[in-house]
């Protein structure tokens, strides 16, 4: 992609392109513009609703306030980074994503492997595991309240095993654990079908050969299947990352604007800054967040490139 390798490669590419450009016939040129036209609605819409206003956000992040418009350099960034609520939010969100996303990838891969055995009722199980996806957010919130309230079902349940069971889970330090469970419950099913699809597209003849060479199931998985799963793993990671931010909906509906410390997320911080009309702080936080995401994605793509380079298809 855009992250080119060595300079030599780059130079080669450029000269290649030059040759191509010279050879471009009138017809090809028309095709190029014709195909670019298909991009126009989407690119124009994204530019209008996201990219251009995002430039304004960057502009806001270096002003003292949107009305006075005094340039203050990195002051907003410094005050955001030194803000204790922001730090708490970043820690919580970072910790949550760092735990929940790999768990979601790993567990769904294990489930896919489990279903990959020729067990009966495979399609039914698949639908069952996929079903949390369609439960509306409001009923999730209702049920999670019933389960994890101080007087909730989970406490009643653990009392049978001799625990005190009088914690109000969402308002305790374990709140984040409850959220991780909620996240896994909701997303594992979809990740699992992505992995199942990928597993079924691993070339069977290679596995057959490995089996003849008396490779065990574990060895086959790590040496062969995993290589073919690399791009799916990256894809599932991206989807899980998106969804890890979307879990804020449930947290928000369960806890409102100012939740217990352990579930105070970056989105809470930004939401509250928005409500307090503190745009410059919010903008600085948004820019920081975007930079972190860009770095993360570049690393992810680099990793994919590295692990799947000698694989075709």
């Amino acid at each position: 992609m855009m992250m080119a390798g060595s300079n030599v490669k780059k130079a080669e590419k450029i000269s290649d392109k030059k040759i191509k450009r010279q050879k471009l016939s009138k017809h090809q040129k028309r095709t190029r513009w014709g195909s670019a036209a298909f991009l126009i609605p989407s690119v124009a819409g994204c530019a209008l609703f996201f990219f251009v206003p995002y430039l304004v956000v960057i502009y806001y992040s270096v002003l003292d306030n949107p009305i006075g418009k005094h340039f203050v350099g990195f002051d907003n960034y410094i005050s955001v980074v030194s803000n204790s609520a922001f730090r708490r939010a970043v820690t919580n969100t970072g910790l949550f994503s760092a735990v929940a996303v790999p768990l979601a990838v790993l567990l769904s891969l294990l489930l896919a492997l489990l279903l990959d055995n020729k067990i009966p009722f495979r399609t039914q199980f698949r639908s069952f595991l996929l079903s949390p996806m369609m439960v509306p957010v409001a009923s999730i919130v209702l049920i999670w309240q019933v389960l994890f309230d101080q007087n909730g079902a989970f406490n009643v349940f653990i009392r049978h095993f001799g625990f005190a069971g009088n914690i109000d889970w969402m308002k305790s330090n374990y709140g984040i654990v409850v959220v991780v469970f909620l996240f896994l419950w909701k997303n594992i099913g979809y990740n699992m079908i992505l992995f199942m699809a990928a597993l079924s597209s691993v070339p069977q003849d290679i596995i057959e050969v490995a089996r003849l060479e008396s490779a065990g199931r574990v060895k086959i998985f790590f040496m062969i299947k995993l290589r073919y799963l690399v791009s799916t793993i990256v894809f599932v990671t991206i989807m899980s990352l998106i969804n890890s931010f979307k879990i804020f909906r449930e947290i928000y509906l369960l806890t409102n604007d100012y939740p217990f410390e352990s579930v105070y997320m970056l989105q809470h911080f930004m939401n509250n800054k928005f409500k307090n009309l503190d745009y410059q702080m919010l903008s600085a936080a948004a820019v920081i967040m975007s930079i972190v995401m860009v770095i993360l994605i570049v690393l992810l793509f680099k990793a994919e490139e590295h692990f799947s380079k000698d694989l075709d298809g």
């Binding site: 855009m2 095709t31 190029r32 014709g34 195909s35 298909f38 991009l39 126009i40 609605p41 989407s42 690119v43 819409g45 994204c46 609703f49 990219f51 206003p53 956000v57 489930l111 020729k118 067990i119 069952f128 595991l129 369609m134 439960v135 509306p136 957010v137 409001a138 009923s139 209702l142 309240q145 019933v146 389960l147 309230d149 007087n151 079902a153 009643v156 419950w185 594992i188 099913g189 992505l194 199942m196 699809a197 079924s200 003849l212 791009s231 799916t232 990256v234 990352l241 998106i242 931010f245 979307k246 909906r249 930004m270 939401n271 928005f274 919010l282 995401m293 994605i297 793509f301 994919e304």
Partner: protein, 321 residues
């Protein structure tokens, strides 16, 4: 080919007969059977755990208000003065109501029209977003597939980053534009950014990139223009991914929370997702029935499209396009 197979079988046979004592094959079979049954039981247990909330929502929607209060009063019951009224000390999680009652549904459907109105709001909000987002994305996906210009990589990378951002990052841009265009407090403020959301562009592009270029070239030789190639070849070939993306988009916007809270000031226009979660204590006995009604469209979409969901992604390979 035949010979190779024969050879393989020979090797297998020779191994079985020469190296291993008799009865080993049977033992292996038994171990395999045990493994499969453990896997089945495990999967069944996990499935049950996963299904629990949905079962609970549906069965509890047939609970009469008194039974509801008796079982869940500990959490939801609030007296009018604001204090908690402890009907029972603890929650009693109940999967099957003592007596099946349709009173919740009767109230929701006949007496308090508010819920149906909010349901309608949800529909009006979601359907245009889903339909037009798919349309814009199908065009864009084809564009990304065919357009090989210099800035393609940059644009697509920007789309991926934008797609990954939590709503709160795009919140200020969103609010600013809605304000400039005077869309605040109208559904347009939610519709338009939704329609141009890059999520489905990403999915559809990834899929369209797998269409063999030879198909396109063949059509070009037959004199088909870009638009014709798009409608006659690319679109039919990507039907699966478009459908499955549609399901994901529908579920996502059906559950929207932040957008209405920020962009709409009139609670009358809120979709059910927001309204239901802010349900007041007096009406909480209706909550499960409303949630069940709210579940129906997703359920239908899901039942109709599950196959697409499963097969639509089958050919998805790399992330990069």
């Amino acid at each position: 080919m035949e010979n190779k197979k024969l050879d393989d079988n020979l090797i297998k046979d020779s191994k079985r007969f020469a190296v291993r004592p008799e009865g080993h094959g049977r033992r292996k079979k038994i171990i395999r059977a045990i493994c499969v049954s453990i896997a089945t039981v495990l999967t069944a247990a996990i499935s049950l755990l996963f299904m629990m909330p949905i079962i609970l929502t549906i069965t509890n929607s047939f609970m009469s208000p008194t039974e509801f209060a008796a079982n869940y009063g500990a959490i939801f019951a609030t007296t009018k003065s604001g204090g908690r009224q402890f009907v029972s000390e603890l929650v009693n999680l109940k999967f099957i109501p003592d007596m099946v009652s349709f009173s919740q549904y009767a109230t929701v459907l006949l007496k308090s029209k508010d819920y149906l109105l909010k349901f309608w709001n949800s529909m009006i909000l979601v359907l245009p977003i889903m339909i037009f987002q798919l349309m814009v994305a199908a065009f864009a996906g084809y564009g990304f597939y065919r357009y090989k210009g210099k800035i393609r990589g940059v644009i697509f990378f920007a789309y991926i980053i934008l797609m990954l951002m939590p709503y709160q990052v795009t919140l200020v841009p969103n609010y600013l534009v809605s304000n400039w265009l005077g869309l605040l407090d109208s559904y347009w403020a939610i519709w338009l950014p939704g329609i141009f959301s890059p999520f489905s562009v990403y999915l559809i592009t990834k899929y369209m990139n797998r269409i063999p270029i030879s198909c396109i070239e063949a059509a070009q030789i037959d004199g088909a223009g870009e638009f014709k190639i798009f409608t006659k070849i690319a679109l039919p070939m990507s039907k699966g991914i478009i459908m499955s993306t549609g399901i994901l988009v529908f579920i996502d916007y059906w559950n929207m929370v932040e957008q209405p809270l920020i962009l709409l000031s009139d609670p009358e226009r809120y979709p059910l997702s927001v309204y239901l979660s802010k349900i007041n204590a007096g009406e909480v006995t209706l909550a499960f029935a409303v949630a069940t009604i709210y579940l129906i469209p997703t359920l239908l979409v899901f039942l109709y499209g599950e196959e697409y969901l499963v097969e639509g992604i089958t050919y998805q390979g790399g992330v990069k396009a």
